[in-house]
Amino acid sequence: MMAKHISLIAGVFALASSVLPAHARTIQVTVTGMAFSPASVTASVGDTIEWVNKDPFAHTATVKGAWEVMLPVGKSASKVIKKSGMVDYYCRFHPNMKGRITVTP
C-alpha cells in the first residue's frame, strides 16, 4: 500500500517536472516609497517577474516601444520574460523610478 502511494507520488512529480521547465521561477519586485525594490534583478528566459505595488500611487513598469505593465494601487501584475538580454524599464508616470532585468538564456 505504502509503496503504491510512493510510486504514485513519484509519478506525479515526474509528470510535473516533464511539463514545467525546472528553472521557471517567479521573481518578485516590490514597488514601495516611489522605487522598484530590488531595482535590479536577474532572470532566465521563461521566468516571471511579478511587481507588487505597495505604494498609495499607481505606477507602471514600462519598456519604451516594447511593453508596459500597469501597476494599480495595492495590486500585483506580472510578465513572463521571453527574450534574453538586458532590459531597462521605468515608471511612465514617474520616470525617475527605474529598474533593470538582466535576462540569461
Binding site: M34, A35, H94, P95, M97
Partner: protein, 174 residues
C-alpha cells in the same frame, strides 16, 4: 534660509517675493504642512482646468495622472496632520503660491487648443521644479517631525517624477 526660499520661489512672480519677505525665518511644521498641501491643491486645480479645456489625449492623460497622484499625497498629508494633531497654519508662502497660481489660471483661461496645451505643460515643468527646489533646500531640512519629513521626502520623489513626466510630454508635443 529665507533668502534661499525667496531665491527659489521668487522666480514665479513678485507676489511670491513679497509674500516671502513676511515669512518667518524658518517655517514650522504646521506651516510646512500647509505649504506642501497648498502646492498639491494648486496642481490639482491646474489638472482640472486642463481636463476641462484640452482636447489632446496626451495632455488630458497627463493631467489625470497629476490629479490622481496629488489627491493621494494630500490625503496622506491630511491623515498625518490628523494623527499628529497638527493644524496646518496659513502663512505668507502659501498665500503667495496661491496668488501666483490664480494669475497662471487666469492666463491659461484665455488660451485654447495647442496654445493652451503648450502653456499648461510648460507651467507644469516650471511649477514642479520650483516645488522640488523648495522641498530640497527649505521644507525637508526645516521639518522637525520625522513622519512629516518622511512624507515630504516621498512628496519630493513624486514631484521630481512629475517634472520628468511633464518634460517627456513637452518633448512629445513638439
Amino acid at each position: 534660509m529665507i533668502k534661499t526660499l525667496r531665491m527659489i520661489l521668487g522666480g514665479t512672480c513678485l507676489l511670491v517675493m513679497a509674500g516671502l519677505a513676511q515669512a518667518a525665518d524658518k517655517p514650522n511644521d504646521a506651516q510646512i504642512a500647509h505649504i506642501a498641501y497648498t502646492a498639491g491643491v494648486i496642481d490639482i486645480d491646474a489638472a482640472k482646468q486642463a481636463i476641462k479645456t484640452s482636447k489632446t489625449k496626451l495632455v488630458v492623460d497627463f493631467a489625470k495622472d497629476m490629479l490622481r497622484d496629488h489627491e493621494a499625497v494630500n490625503k496622506q498629508a491630511l491623515d498625518l496632520v490628523k494623527k499628529l494633531k497638527v493644524t496646518p497654519e496659513d502663512n505668507p508662502t502659501s498665500q503667495a503660491l496661491t496668488k501666483a497660481a490664480e494669475a497662471e489660471r487666469e492666463k491659461l483661461a484665455k488660451l485654447q487648443g495647442a496654445a493652451f496645451d503648450k502653456a499648461y505643460i510648460i507651467n507644469e515643468v516650471a511649477f514642479h521644479k520650483q516645488v522640488d527646489d523648495a522641498l530640497k533646500t527649505v521644507l525637508i531640512p526645516s521639518a522637525t517631525n520625522p513622519e512629516l519629513k518622511s512624507l515630504l521626502e516621498t512628496g519630493l520623489k513624486i514631484f521630481e517624477g512629475h517634472e520628468q513626466h511633464a518634460e517627456m510630454v513637452a518633448a512629445e508635443m513638439k
